[in-house]
């Protein structure tokens, strides 16, 4: 009897420590801290180096126009990657975001005839609802996130295509709508989508780092059973992160439609891969339990800078962009695994 109780107490103490470790990824020993530092800020260092080299090599890189264009085109992917960061920290994955991005764009463009509020809320509601279904299937029915969101990816694109008569109808954002102003206007020299993205990221970072929900997200990804033992609402947390991912993907699509002044049906193909790449490059572990919102922003910028550099070279075919992104992802994943293994050993 006593032995059992001690074992239970030990188990609780152990899970408590794991939860604390999950909530505070910076370890105690020096080399552990170094690994964590590389993991967290490695992408930022690479971003700085690549940008510095690019601005020295190409006169057209560090111009205001080019930077501001890059910032705006990064904004949409960044909003998607923000939701993906939450999902991946819980140890899940969301493959449906590309389809939801396209669906959100079409819904926003169609909804703009009924006012800007409808244009923004409709895609967030519909895509959020698909996120709820994803979350329910994953959390309550315990189906693999990969497969559930794969199905949602097919289903959401199918829904979008049937709404647009198999992609034949293009919905234009209503003339004179505030939505177009929101997407195309600038504030203090930066496009409005960039400001919206920045606000969302600050909010995301605060929620992840400072709120009880944020702690639950880390705990669920760190060790689901331990989190449940500690009384964290595992299922609810999962449902919320997939909903959040859906809402943000829909919002990103709406902002993109506002920027383009139309809902483009072919958008979002492969976007889930870009978003996952950005999150992973930014130092979030695909095994869950560890991750940074700021890292994902850096990851998105890095992908876009690489893309821009390849465009600047001009003579290089744009296919090289995929080769470089793939190689980059492989290098980052190998480095992450290596750093992670070192930290486990220490």
């Amino acid at each position: 009897m006593t032995a059992t109780r001690t074992e239970t107490e030990e188990a609780v103490a152990r899970t408590e420590k794991e939860l604390l470790d999950a909530a505070d990824p910076v370890g105690s020993s020096r080399s552990e801290r170094l690994s964590a530092l590389v993991q967290q800020h490695g992408a930022l260092a690479v971003l700085v180096i690549v940008s510095a080299v690019a601005s020295l090599s190409f006169d057209s890189f560090a111009t205001g126009d080019n930077l501001s264009n890059m910032a705006t085109s990064s904004a949409f992917l960044a909003v998607v990657a923000l939701g993906m960061t939450f999902v991946i920290i819980t140890g899940g994955i969301d493959l449906s975001v590309g389809s939801l991005f396209a669906l959100g764009g079409v819904l926003a463009a169609w909804g703009s005839q009924y006012g800007t509020l409808v244009a923004l809320l409709l895609p967030m509601a519909v895509c959020g609802l698909i996120g709820v279904v994803n979350g329910l299937l994953i959390a309550r029915s315990r189906l693999a996130p990969f497969i559930v969101t794969l199905a949602a990816m097919l289903g959401a694109r199918g829904l979008m295509l049937s709404l647009t008569d198999e992609g034949a109808d293009t919905y234009l954002v209503a003339k004179g709508s505030f939505l177009a102003e929101l997407g195309q206007g600038t504030t203090l020299g930066l496009g409005n989508p960039v400001w919206i993205t920045l606000v969302l990221f600050v909010a995301g970072a605060v929620v992840l780092r400072r709120s009880r929900f944020g702690q639950h997200v880390y705990a669920v990804g760190g060790n689901e059973d331990a989190a449940a033992l500690m009384g964290a609402p595992v299922a609810r947390t999962k449902i919320i992160v997939y909903t959040l991912s859906g809402v943000l993907a829909g919002l990103a699509g709406a902002l993109n439609a506002a920027w383009l002044a139309s809902g483009v049906t072919i958008l979002g193909n492969g976007m889930e891969l870009e978003a996952i790449s950005a999150v992973v490059i930014g130092g979030t572990l695909l095994t869950g339990g560890l991750g940074y919102v700021s890292g994902s922003l850096v990851g998105v910028l890095l992908l876009k800078v690489i893309q821009n550099v390849i465009n600047q070279i001009g003579s290089l075919d744009s296919s090289y962009q995929q080769v470089v992104s793939g190689a980059f992802l492989a290098v980052v994943v190998i480095a992450q695994t290596w750093l992670g293994r070192r930290r486990q050993l220490l």
Partner: protein
């Protein structure tokens, strides 16, 4: 109590789900065949069967490799990219003859497979991430090698794509032969047993002294080679190399075929007959919807529903 008494003993939920998982795919195929025979004009023609079978053959071949990867509790997202790569390399080397071109394709595919396998087996990266890198990079390489669609005029390749033996197209003969081969390897060879043991419990397999890394490497090489075969056959059928769109979403179709066919994503079991039936089921579903003038978007929604149903049926089976 009353409810339990009313319900027939053989029909409790677990047994229904288990039956669905094992035989659901065959039942699905049978239902679709019956429905089509009843309501689709010209369904029962040799021409139609030939078209459907030739279309499904590459999917079956890719799904065979995917089944091996899933059997080890892995996954291979790079199969579509490997198909595109195979198409590009075929187009580039066809000038030297069909056989040298095919050998070069095999070398390229083996390199991709080795890279995937090394990341999974040696570096210890999760399969979904390891193969994601080559999914992105592989199509890039295919497009760098051959930036756009190229028509191929090669009699040997043409006969591979449209020829037949005793009235059965080569594509179907090859797909059937490969399915038998993979089923044999899984059931009757040491390698097959080791593969399933690793999928069942990798740590235990390692403790038992199985060559875990070597088996994983071979699985991803086999998966890439099978995808390359599918890429070459699809290219032969189209008489054109199309690195931009060949194999797009093929990883999804292959995973769907495997899962719908009753192979659990948690590894340790592989159902090859079910995988073939799974591919046929998706093909029939698509064909049925298209023949009745339902828009392609419905196909995607239907496929999504089939995936969720299949995984739901497989839920809780196998290990956690």
């Amino acid at each position: 109590m009353a409810e339990a008494a009313i319900r027939p003993a053989g029909l409790d939920r677990a047994r229904v789900l288990q039956w669905m998982q094992t035989y659901g795919v065959y039942a699905g195929v049978a239902v679709l065949l019956v429905v089509n025979v009843a309501v689709t004009p010209h369904f029962l023609s040799a021409e139609n069967f030939r078209t459907q079978a030739v279309q499904v053959a590459p999917v079956i071949i890719v799904a065979l490799g995917m089944a091996l990867a899933i059997g080890t509790e892995g996954i291979d997202l790079s199969v579509g990219a490997v198909m595109a790569l195979a198409a590009s390399v075929t187009a580039l080397y066809l000038g030297y003859g069909l056989v040298p071109a095919l050998l070069t394709v095999a070398v390229f595919a083996a390199v991709v497979g080795l890279a995937n396998g090394a990341l999974v087996a040696w570096v210890g990266v999760q399969p979904i991430v390891a193969t994601l890198a080559l999914m992105v990079g592989g199509r890039g390489i295919a497009l760098v090698l051959l930036p756009q669609l190229k028509d191929l005029h090669n009699p040997a390749l043409a006969s591979l794509g449209s020829g037949d033996v005793l009235g059965i197209p080569y594509l179907i003969v090859i797909a059937a032969a490969l399915a038998l081969l993979v089923a044999f390897v899984i059931r009757r060879t040491t390698f097959g047993r080791q593969l399933l043991a690793i999928g069942d419990n990798r740590a235990a397999a390692k403790l038992a002294g199985l060559p875990v890394r070597r088996v994983l490497m071979l699985v991803y090489v086999a998966c890439a080679l099978l995808a390359a075969v599918a890429g070459v056959l699809a290219t032969a059928r189209l008489q054109a190399s199309d690195p931009t769109s060949l194999g797009n979403l093929m990883e999804l179709s292959a995973i769907t075929a495997v899962v719908v066919g009753g192979t659990p994503l948690s590894g340790g079991r592989v159902n090859i007959a079910g995988t073939v039936a799974g591919a046929v089921l998706i093909q029939l579903l698509t064909a049925t919807l298209i023949k009745h003038d339902l828009p392609p978007s419905w196909t995607q929604i239907a496929q999504a529903i089939v995936i969720v149903l299949a995984v739901y049926a497989a839920r809780g089976r196998g290990k956690r």
